[in-house]
């Protein structure tokens, strides 16, 4: 087990200098040497992380090379090794490629629009008066706090073919701006969520709506950290607003943006609940993204957990690459 190896590793080597001075060789009333205390405190956390996150990740890797169906879930038959067959099956399937394309395109548009809107709102909040700023922040909190399933429900209703107000609003616009689809005299009845492209437009709007407050609040916190003297100096030098933004604000906020971008990419790649509600469960295979495809493959009868695992492995590798950058950025800024 992970915890025992850590403990033995600690015993052989001396504790860090700061500690030796005070604790070395001291044995408390409980009978445990002082150096062992942090390791004992870590036992439950390590058990959970090793047993329920890291071990399952290894299992996922193993399963991706196995045939795992209902019999294996029940434990009546051991899993059969199939080598790369799962990956071959997955990679030769059109659904995988459309799911990958959907995930990539969604992440690109979702992340860029969330960042642009979030940054704009963050700058706006910084310039608003104290009361107005608080008012807007509280409004944004509502969008941010709504559970993902409820987000999906809300936007599904707004994009509803008959009762949705998206169609109502489009009807209001002059035809040269938004002409009804071919063969229709009005937008009413246009089903948005049946086809992949409009489905993803709805998903992007939903995720941008729910995601921009986090960006805005983070950017606002970053802006508050920039010394006011820099802006005063720029003003004295006669720098314009856009110039100041590019030469002072952006460079100062670079670490914030790095972290926000990576977090947004990770979240948008993993998006599941909102898509699940908008597309009414894993029904429309063309509309799958990678997480939906993995889950649908693994759990829709006939259960194919092996191929589901293979798809998850692809998704995990993509996310791990982005995570490495995230971790590096955080480690750079934090003293650990």
């Amino acid at each position: 087990m992970a915890n025992t190896t850590t403990v033995t590793r600690g015993r052989g080597s001396s504790p860090s200098p700061g500690h030796r001075r005070k604790d070395a060789g001291r044995v408390r009333a409980s009978g445990m040497p002082a150096w062992s205390i942090p390791y004992l405190l870590l036992v439950p956390g390590l058990l959970v992380i090793a047993g329920l996150l890291l071990y399952p990740m290894v299992q996922l890797g193993i399963m991706s090379f196995q045939k795992v169906g209902l019999a294996q879930v029940r434990g009546t038959r051991p899993a059969e090794w199939v080598g790369l067959e799962n990956f071959e099956k997955v990679l030769s399937n059109d659904i995988f490629w459309s799911a990958l394309r959907n995930s990539l395109a969604f992440a690109f548009f979702g992340v860029s629009l969330t960042l642009i809107l979030g940054t704009a709102v963050g700058v706006l909040l910084h310039r608003l008066g104290r009361k107005m700023s608080l008012f807007v922040v509280i409004g944004c909190m509502f969008a941010w706090a709504v559970p993902p399933v409820a987000q999906g429900v809300i936007w599904r209703s707004l994009f509803d073919a008959e009762a949705g107000i998206v169609n109502w609003a489009l009807n209001l616009l002059p035809d040269w701006l938004a002409a009804p689809p071919d063969g229709q005299t009005s937008w009413s009845g246009t089903p948005w969520l049946n086809d992949t492209l409009p489905l993803y437009i709805a998903l992007v709007i939903c995720v941008v709506w729910a995601g921009f407050p986090f960006i805005a609040v983070s950017v606002l916190a970053g802006l508050k950290g920039i010394p006011a003297e820099l802006y005063e100096a720029a003003k004295v030098d006669g720098s314009g607003a856009w110039h100041t933004f590019r030469k002072i604000t952006l460079p100062m906020l670079r670490p914030v943006f790095a972290v926000l971008t990576m977090l947004s990419i990770i979240w948008d790649f993993k998006v599941f609940s909102q898509l699940y509600v908008l597309m009414n469960g894993p029904t429309n295979r063309d509309g799958f993204n990678l997480s939906m495809y993995a889950v649908a493959e693994a759990f829709r009868p006939p259960q194919k957990l092996g191929t589901g695992a293979a798809i998850s492995i692809v998704l995990t590798i993509i996310l791990l690459i982005i995570t490495v950058f995230y971790v590096r950025q955080i480690v750079k800024q934090e003293e650990m």
Partner: protein
């Protein structure tokens, strides 16, 4: 235009933009709540009806008394609450121990543990779902809320520890040392000195875990096969019926599910920003 007039106009424009952002953020939430109070003829129309002119509790009443998928909504609410509270209780205890270890001690493997925390909280839960599903079924926790609690503890623990460690670190070490000098044991010091001072941090991480577990769809959907074990996010799906969507009911249900999250969220959003962006945001 005089500079003063220009400045005033700029201020008006800024405030107008702020109002627009406010409306964009809150309108969909308002739409959810208000639809729950509208009569059906006001819901199923291509017209835009900004607020319910015939205010009705019919949908809320129907959802609360009739339920869905052969069970009362209270059962799903209870399941959700059991899972979320169970996650909070187990998760917070574990998180506090780990956070204390990280914030109070320098030990071999500390940096590795911190980096592991950062990495595992980014893992895709849909990927973890597949092996965890196998594990939970094998140990006989399939279809039991405890199985769901266990998975939620795993998913929330890394960020919980990450968030809580800053609270523990903020408690001055001298306070604890003073207690030791007075002869208190480490354990007494922990309970009498550290615990009360990190209580706000525990509340913050607990709320975070509660929200995550309360919101979860994918684990509840696939670990539970009978409607007895469904949580609110899963139960809501059943209002999207074969014959059409019961918007009044689903909006009422969504509102009921959203209320606790919004209330709790207002307390912890700042902490969540700090936890996620760590040193990147100095604010």
């Amino acid at each position: 235009m005089s500079p003063i007039a220009r400045k005033r106009l700029g201020k008006v424009a800024l405030n107008a933009a702020g109002l627009l952002v406010f409306l964009f953020a809150t309108f969909p939430v308002y739409w959810m709540v208000s639809t729950g109070f509208k009569e059906n003829d006001q819901i199923f129309t291509t017209e835009f009806i900004p607020f319910p002119t015939h205010f009705t509790f019919e949908h809320f009443e129907r959802v609360l008394t009739e339920g869905v998928a052969n069970n009362s909504i209270w059962l799903y609410m209870r399941n959700s609450a059991v899972v979320a509270l169970g996650t909070v209780l187990i998760g917070s205890a574990f998180a506090l121990l780990s956070a204390t270890a990280i914030a109070r001690f320098r030990f071999k493997g500390r940096g590795a543990f911190l980096i592991t925390l950062l990495i595992v909280q980014m893992l895709p839960s849909e990927g973890l779902l597949i092996p965890l599903y196998m594990m939970v079924k094998r140990v006989g926790l399939g279809d039991q809320l405890l199985g769901l609690i266990v998975t939620q503890v795993a998913l929330t623990l890394p960020f919980g520890v990450w968030m809580l460690r800053t609270f523990v670190a903020a408690v001055p070490k001298s306070l604890e040392e003073a207690a030791w000098i007075d002869g208190a044991s480490r354990l007494t010091t922990f309970w009498k000195v550290l615990f009360p001072l990190v209580a706000p941090g525990l509340v913050a991480t607990s709320i975070f875990s509660f929200i995550t577990a309360w919101n979860d769809l994918v684990f509840a959907l696939y670990l539970m096969s009978g409607s007895e074990g469904y949580t609110m996010p899963v139960a809501l799906q059943f209002f999207f019926g074969q014959e059409g969507v019961d918007w009044g009911a689903i909006m009422a249900g969504s509102t009921l599910m959203t209320i606790p999250v919004v209330v709790f969220f207002l307390f912890v959003q700042r902490r969540m920003v700090q936890g996620l962006t760590a040193g990147a945001v100095k604010g």
